[in-house]
Symmetry: C2
Subunit: 422 residues, 2 copies
């Protein structure tokens, strides 16, 4: 049997009891005959506590030092997990990102993996040990400084290691049994999805389903690594994220599910002169401030005024920075007004089948209209339709959409649909 990479999020290793439970699961996998490499996040709220401490000392902590600080979180969880495994009679060795050969660029706080040279991991599993690797962290190629990978970093570490080691599967553990057709906290009869293609999973992840992080799915798709999303609290099969041809066409529904995202904010630049290059100026300035933009909509210009409105969505946390950038830009782009709204959210309908099925968007919009929900912005891809609605109407929009496409089951899953930490 081959190598299995298992990633456990912060909620799975929140305390000593959780760590012992995870240790048992790891040893069981090892006893089945697999070589096991484990990637672990920081315990529970550790990262938030460390951030608190940093903010007590400095309003804007130095980026290099913030990475040094935050990586203490995984150092603690991995060492304690290795102890718990050793205590069960199975040798385990923990490795920092640097020791595991996770080489990154030097962008502190959002470093990208350049290379993985897992020589010490290979040696550890050759020696019969379980290797425990700190997620979320690496070492920069040039400066040899400690870096962190930013949001979703531990998932990405796991997939990158699975790729470098030629693992047969990368198991991503959290506190839910996989991916559902909607968040079961909002839609109690949401259906569990047994298999999903990379593309649909990407759209789910990009549009607010917190179960897997975008970067990790992108990495897995590029290198064709099967991901098994499952719960560390049960032994149920989770959701397999695989190539489209491995998704049984008989069971593949037209619509995969409804995702939602409460973390969006919307900025409208009102009265932009309708001439070539103005939009480029706006989004170049935004990009230079390292702010990621999600949806962009430009209205058709009213010929009489030769002015246009440009709206875009972005993460709420980037809102203040974007407003600052655009205010500085007022002399260059002579727009009239800036409107910032962080009381918005995004609801997305995702399905590989929708491109060949006419009338999907009409049915989606009708369902929202019937529920009394006003659509603020619309954006589509080949396998997704997203709308921006008022934050207060997100839950209603998800329920209405889920019902309109008959995505529910008769059974109600008793799960908590939570985030994956980092």
């Amino acid at each position: 049997m081959g190598i299995v990479v298992q990633k456990y999020g912060g909620s799975s290793v929140a305390d000593a009891q959780g760590i012992k439970r995870v240790a048992k699961r790891i040893v069981a996998t090892k006893k089945e005959g697999h070589d096991v490499v484990v990637v672990v996040s920081a315990m529970g709220d550790t990262t938030d506590e460390l951030l608190d401490l940093a903010n007590q000392v400095s309003p804007l902590p130095a980026a290099r030092e913030l990475d040094m600080l935050l990586t203490a979180g995984e150092r603690i969880s991995m060492a304690v997990l290795a102890m718990a495994i050793t205590d069960l009679g199975q040798e385990a060795r923990s490795f920092t990102g640097s020791q595991a050969g996770v080489i990154t660029d030097a962008e502190h706080g959002r470093a990208k993996i350049i290379d993985v040279t897992p020589g010490r991991i290979v040696q550890a599993i050759a020696d019969g040990a379980v290797a425990i690797v700190a997620g979320f962290q690496g070492v920069s190629q040039e400066s040899k400084d400690i870096t962190t990978l930013g949001r979703g970093g531990s998932d990405t570490t796991a997939v990158a290691l699975a790729t470098a080691l030629g693992a047969e599967v990368c198991e991503i553990y959290s506190d839910v049994d996989g991916i559902f057709t909607a968040d079961p906290r909002i839609v109690p009869n949401a259906t569990h999805i047994p298999r999903l293609s990379y593309a649909e999973t990407l759209e789910m992840a990009a549009n607010g389903a917190k179960i897997l992080h975008l970067r990790c799915v992108e990495y897995a798709r590029r290198y064709n690594v099967p991901i098994h999303v499952r719960s560390s609290f049960s032994n149920k099969e989770g959701t397999w994220v695989v190539n489209p041809e491995e998704v049984n066409s008989m069971e593949a529904a037209i619509i995969s599910g409804v995702a939602h995202d409460r973390s969006e904010a919307k900025i409208t630049v009102v009265g932009v002169p309708d001439k070539i290059g103005e939009a480029a100026k706006i989004f170049t300035a935004i990009a230079e401030a390292k702010i990621d933009v999600d949806m962009i909509v430009q209205n058709v210009s009213a010929a009489a005024t030769a002015l246009t409105d440009i709206s875009f969505t972005l993460s709420q946390t980037d809102g203040a920075a974007a407003v600052r950038v655009l205010t500085d830009l007022k002399d260059t782009v002579a727009y009239e007004q800036l409107i910032f709204n962080d009381a918005v959210g995004k609801v997305s309908l995702i399905g590989a089948g929708m491109r060949n099925s006419p009338g999907i968007s009409a049915r989606f919009f009708q369902a929202l209209a019937d529920a009394g929900i006003n659509i603020d912005m619309i954006s589509t891809s080949e396998i997704r339709i997203s709308v921006v609605v008022a934050e207060s109407q997100i839950d209603d929009a998800v329920r209405a959409t889920h019902a309109a496409f008959d995505l529910g089951t008769d059974e109600v899953e008793a799960v908590v649909y939570g985030g994956t930490g980092r």
Copy 2:
């Protein structure tokens, strides 16, 4: 001006406020024109909390993993301290023991420094930055595993770095103004000692004065690094630990001070056959269990029985292990009985002058007798006389001795005499 190495213990960086206070002191030293290298311990109780966590998961945590875990403590304090310094407008860079080039052997939990290759530290100070180094930790030469130096590790890191960098002084900060003739908590009029030789400081450290750790003083003596022991809470001059010729003979008293140690336990092996090699068997077995023995006393054998009693003292924490070792040895060394007593302590009179001053021990023992204190064991070196007494009588013994040798001042120092963490 040259390089100053400053070491701050856990009590100096116990919280965000303490870290900011220490940051200001570091920046002030830098502004005076010195290159500053800082060695820092884990914040306050961090180490104990991490040990608690380890014990929740495993009764006997794997040594390699315990080192990985504990080193998270300094990682946190050094990163936060670097942030606080950067916030004051002075560049600071933190380095792990490994990054700072602290190369050790592979004895987890009690590693010894083999070499220091501080290339990155030299570069940082050449760039005008303050270098912050994690105390207590290193990396093993062969396995490249993370190691810890054991008790007093951070002090040792500081002195080792001061040696490798050719620093003009190694300042060891804690919460007291240096070394006193006795613990001021027991003897309120204890006298502050401005200068002390390495040898006397070694005896003080080895015999319970918690202000400096034995290993660090040994290292400093070997490489002739001046140590300045001082408080991070005041700007008073502390105690300089230097070569004997630099201790002004006019001010050098015959007796330096009275040290005490509450952490001792005593084991008596009763009825050991009085023949060649029996003591060797006992202490070989103890040494193989990596237990450090302090004082050893063997009574003259009563010829009639051809049996003898051997008593020795050791750290209370090693007591259970030593009893186990000796119980296993009963078949080999046919002794009669084992007596374990952890309600003992050691009081030591230290002074380079005592070797040329007759009557010191007589005066010492008389002072104890006058105070109604029974002496259990006696051990002497050229510059020290130690006695083992009942734990409940330690304070009385210290006070009686301090008074008998006129060591007190008229002023009472308002200080708290605490430990230095690690």
